[in-house]
Amino acid sequence: MRAYSGEMTDESPTTSSDSFSQVKALLELEGITAPDHDLASLAKQLPALRRKVDRFYEVDTNDEVTASVFRADPSY
């Protein structure tokens, strides 16, 4: 039982120091300095997030499918 914690998340029970430093580095690359308790929370979510992302690389995508179709000359 829990109250709403807020984030859309699947959290791991523990935070590895690797995850913490990876999250910290990625946010700093974006120019964001976040407090440690926020970094720790994101670090807990990182493994599950990466597992979800990795699953997308298991889908058989052919060589022609693009993420989106860019139109140099849109018809409208």
């Binding site: 039982m1 109250a3 807020g6 984030e7 974006e30 990466r50 993420a67």
Partner: protein, 468 residues
């Protein structure tokens, strides 16, 4: 007592049995008592609403009839800009100058159709996340049980309609934010095909997943709103120029030949309570009684469509919020900033792959619908009914209990209609999904379902008709 609908009030106005001023005064008076309990509004527009109501009455008396929305009180989720005032996006981080240009195309269209805007309704901060008790905004509560959440993020529009404070309104839906609160609050909500309705004048969340959708008590009412909302607009290049459809007329067409697929992916069944699935069974029995063939259907790459919506919308949201997050990290609510920041944990290559899979999945689904001759899909809108603010079980609050995001990934039209109640007396929603731009088919099925059921007419304990 039964819910007031736009259709009923529009008829009463034309028969001279009431006036727009009387209707608007009644709902504003109800809000004086209900809003402090339910947290419906960020800002009310009492004076301008009454002025608009008087104008609507004058026009009707002069024989000027702008259609079914003429003189009807509607609410607007407070991430959509209007002439009446600033847009907060329910965030202290929001730049007050955003939206100073006033009405976007959608608000203009509704205003031209005679709609009366009673105020800006509550959302979750930036239309994402969950109720945040740490911020200086109202907490939207469910009229069926005020210890329960309305669902989000079009929370105030949903509880305002459910409690009779407005007859309809606008929500936005990036992963289910029209359909989820519609299901939790026992009303009807529609996320139309992506590109049918312009979304300019709205604070974006997931730019390619966002939709502004109609919410009301009935499908007919949503169709009347969509008639005004739909159509290409040059300010939003994702809108598609298409021949206009009269959705109000289309919902009355018969259902002959329509074949329904019931989604039976494990991800839906295992993330839904037995009670919810039992209520859905009853709804399917009702659909069968309309003479339609019902078959089982497995959505290809369902999990990818579901999870991809969240992953990609976080990346898209991050692109919009990055600069502000750099400067005002702590001004965002913690749930919001942590959700959006996850967009920084996804690489450019990851996002491309997620979007490629999105294209593949959409294509495979269309092929399978064609192959199995299925026109519409149904599922519960959510796996569980409205969850309590405190003490919710993990399954009920899990993202997997939301059965709405795949249809933001595909962009297909998806409707939520009330389909019954659970053991705690809380509303349950049925989701009806159609093929792209077959919005009329989805609405038609929902409308016919509401002709043989009365779930959408039920009023909650906190309602305009039950206050002193």
């Amino acid at each position: 007592m039964t819910q007031l609908s736009i259709r009923d009030v529009a008829d009463q106005l034309r028969r001279g049995e009431t006036t727009s001023r009387r209707i608007v005064e009644d709902v504003l008076k109800a809000s004086d008592k209900l809003d402090p309990i339910l947290g419906t509004y960020i800002k009310r527009f009492d004076i301008s609403a009454l002025e608009a109501a008087d104008k609507a009455d004058q026009e009707l008396r002069a024989g000027i009839d702008r259609g079914p929305l003429h003189g009807i009180p509607l609410g607007v989720k407070d991430i959509i800009s209007t002439d009446e005032g600033p847009t907060s996006a329910q965030s202290v981080a929001q730049d007050p100058a955003w939206g100073e240009s006033g009405d976007g195309p959608l608000i203009s269209r509704l205003r031209d159709a005679g709609a009366v805007f009673t105020g800006k309704t509550t959302t979750m901060e930036y239309a994402i996340g969950f109720p945040d008790f740490d911020k200086p905004f109202p907490i939207p509560r469910n009229p069926w049980n005020t210890d329960r959440w309305t669902g989000g993020s079009s929370s105030g529009t949903a509880n305002g309609i459910s409690s009779g404070q407005i007859l309809g309104g606008l929500g936005t839906d990036t992963g289910g934010s029209v359909r989820l609160p519609a299901a939790y609050c026992g009303i009807t909500g529609f996320k139309q095909t992506f590109g049918l309705v312009p979304k300019s004048g709205c604070v974006p969340l997931g730019l390619s997943y966002d939709h502004i959708g109609p919410m009301a008590t009935s499908v007919w009412d949503c169709a009347a709103m969509l008639n005004v909302m739909a159509g290409y607009h040059s300010s939003d290049r994702t809108t598609v120029p298409r021949p206009s459809v009269d959705f109000v007329e289309a919902v009355e067409h018969d259902l002959e030949g329509l074949r329904i697929g019931v989604i039976e992916n494990e991800s839906v069944l295992e993330a839904s309570s037995e009670q919810m699935l039992a209520v859905l069974d009853d709804a399917i029995t009702a659909l069968k009684s309309l003479g339609m063939e019902v078959v089982s259907f497995r959505v290809p790459l369902y999990d990818e469509l579901h999870d991809g919506a969240f992953l990609a919308l976080q990346a898209e949201a991050f692109s919009w919020h990055r600069k502000q997050l750099q400067q005002r990290w702590l001004d965002y609510g913690r749930p919001t900033r942590l959700t959006i920041a996850k967009g920084a944990l996804i690489s450019a290559g990851d996002l491309v792959q997620i979007e490629r899979v999105r294209e593949i999945a959409r294509g495979r689904l269309l092929e399978q619908l064609q192959k199995e001759r299925v026109d519409v899909l149904v599922s519960p809108t959510t796996g569980y009914a409205a969850t309590p603010f405190v003490g919710a079980n993990r399954e009920a609050t899990s993202l997997s209990a939301m059965h709405t995001p795949p249809w933001n990934s595909t962009g297909f039209p998806a409707l939520s209609v009330p389909m019954g109640f659970d053991q705690d007396g809380l509303p349950c929603g049925m989701q009806i999904v159609g093929k792209p731009f077959a919005d009329d088919v989805v609405l038609r099925l929902g409308h016919h379902y509401q002709q043989i059921t009365e779930w959408h007419t039920r009023t909650p304990p906190a309602h305009l008709t039950s206050i002193d």
